[in-house]
């Protein structure tokens, strides 16, 4: 406990922690706090419906346009990428289009000639769009999805033809009145307002917790070497496991303080904005603990372990890549976005209780999984630390003897 207190004190006094708190608070205020400043009882936007005819019509016309222009828009890494297919793959798409439309070679050429020409920006390249090309009578949706999956695969993934996204790309309709009413009821009666807001809170705070802790963890782990105190610490009569876990616990505790403060601010804001409504006063403290602590544990463990192994900010680079994969490369929609191994779960709305509950098993699994992974990483970090103390290991050098990656700071 004494060691834990000393480590906490050390972290509190560090510039890395102060900057961590400032950035965390800034993120919270500019995202969650400003988004939830007004009363809202329903998302009221559009909703994706599984209307197979609508999906097939939309996707077929879009694919016709892309095929004619030989330009397919994809977002494989969350950013715009236009893909041009080579002859062989283009022919394959043509065959698929013929199969879906039920046209022969001549018929297909006829359909192709119906495209409307348009130009993008100052480009002189012709682009084509199609609107009323019908799908062959009785064409099976399962086969259609198989074709779309293959097209998406040929494009390198991340296209609007990914079967998982088809519904959101081509079958969005305004939310019906009864759905709006049901959503309002779920938000007020079942979520008791704060339950829904807590999910949105976790979504926003999870984004910065997925990356911020790694900086403080990397700093604390490297601090002994920077101050040339490591040899002094190595000779102390304390087990490596105890020392590493005490530091880990101190990092988790201190870095959760701004999150706890944000929970409190969010609750006060909810009480003010939705005054007079019946609310679950503990919702802001229950869900965020389960949702956010594994994220905090993992990004901290990455910082500690990799800094211990490489004695450098390699951890920052690795966590940036992990964060980019979990946050930027997420497919839409950003609600109920939980897989078994999702680190940063997304649910960018205070509503959609049903969608969130539908993925609850995976959500719970992912939280347990990342908690175990984090603890295993910390055990490994303790073993590395122990090996360093014993002199049998001195970190891995990435770029030769005097490399910057071997910098002991």
């Amino acid at each position: 406990m004494m060691l834990f207190r000393i480590e906490c004190k050390k972290i509190f006094r560090s510039a890395a922690f102060i900057v961590y708190c400032a950035i965390s608070l800034l993120f919270f205020l500019t995202n969650y706090y400003s988004d939830c400043a007004d009363v809202e009882y329903s998302s009221g936007g559009s909703v994706a419906v599984e209307d197979h005819d609508r999906i097939m019509d939309g996707a077929l016309n879009s694919l016709m346009g892309d095929y004619a222009s030989n330009r397919y828009i994809c977002y494989p890494y969350g950013f715009y990428k236009s893909v041009h297919l080579k002859e062989k793959k283009r022919d394959k798409v043509k065959e698929y289009l013929k199969e879906i439309t039920g046209a022969d070679d001549k018929g297909f050429e006829e359909i192709l000639s119906k495209g409307e020409v348009y130009y993008e920006g100052y480009s002189t390249e012709k682009m084509y769009s199609y609107h009323d090309i019908p799908v062959k009578e009785g064409f099976e949706y399962e086969r259609f999805c198989e074709i779309m999956a293959d097209v998406d695969d040929m494009l390198g993934g991340g296209s609007i033809y990914d079967p998982e996204n088809l519904m959101y790309s081509f079958s969005l309709v305004p939310m019906p009145e009864e759905d709006i009413k049901a959503e309002q009821d779920a938000f007020i009666k079942e979520d008791k307002i704060t339950g829904g807001l807590a999910r949105l809170f976790c979504d926003y705070v999870g984004i910065d917790l997925g990356i911020l802790p790694v900086f403080a963890a990397a700093w604390l782990t490297a601090a002994d070497r920077k101050r040339r105190m490591h040899e002094l610490v190595y000779t102390r009569d304390i087990s490596s496991v105890k020392l590493v876990f005490a530091r880990y616990a101190a990092l988790l505790f201190t870095m959760f303080i701004p999150v706890a403060a944000e929970m409190l601010i969010a609750l006060i804001q909810a009480l003010v904005v939705y005054r007079g409504e019946s609310m679950d006063m503990l919702a802001f403290f229950k869900l965020p603990m389960i949702w956010l602590i594994p994220i905090l544990m993992f990004s901290t463990a990455v910082g500690v372990l990799l800094t211990e192994v490489f004695s450098s900010p390699v951890a920052i680079l690795v966590q940036v890549v992990i964060w980019f994969r979990s946050v930027v490369m997420t497919d839409f929609p950003l609600s109920g976005e939980t897989g078994k191994f999702t680190l940063v779960c997304r649910h960018n709305t205070a509503f959609g209780r049903e969608i969130f509950l539908a993925g609850m098993d995976d959500f719970i699994f992912s939280r347990i999984f990342w908690t175990i992974v984090s603890l295993a990483m910390m055990l490994l970090a303790a073993a590395v630390y122990s090996a360093k103390r014993g002199g049998s290991f001195n970190g891995i050098r990435l770029f030769g003897k005097d490399s910057i990656f071997r910098r002991k700071a």
Binding site: V19, I23, T30, N31, F79, S82, G121, K226, I404
Partner: protein
Amino acid sequence: MVSGCLARIAYSDVRHNFLPHYLAAVGVLLITPVIFGLSELTAQMAAQPLEIMPLLMGIILLTPILAPEQNECILETVRSKKMSRHIVNAMRIACALVLLSVLIFALGWYMRCNDSEVTVKMCLGALAGAFAIGSLGFFCAAVTDNIIVGYMVSLMYLIMNFFLRRELGKFFLMSMTYGIKGCKPVLAVSGAVLIAAAMIYRRAVKNER
């Protein structure tokens, strides 16, 4: 003779301290075509890769300018030298800026060769953004004497740009992508001010020669 000495320092510095950073910046350039489509883009679409990737290069190249002296042993050796550390730092910044410019113009040239609408002005705009965010990292690292804080602030500022377009006003880094005018000169000046402020701080408060 002085210039020869400076050239030797620059060579030694690059070889022993900054080569991995330079390679990492080149790596960012090389992965750009994997992440983004770079061919046949309109000016506004071309601005996206041209603005985002140089920001990473700016962080990688400018934030760790003071990294070698984070090691106490190196710091003690450097303190004993006659050569002013400000001159060495200025030389490191100059090297980083030259490489940054080369990489950005190489990216712009590659895009232009692939029929994207890229102009020299757009490349200069990208350079201004990269310079500003790199200078922010350098400034924070100089003030806190902690490179990790420099990385933290500059990376988080980059992430903020994805969420806070309006709130950042003239300090928004991706203005060309959204067709907002007047941001780049402000960023270029801010970058210069941050570098000057960091140097003055190190001299006045930290008594650095």
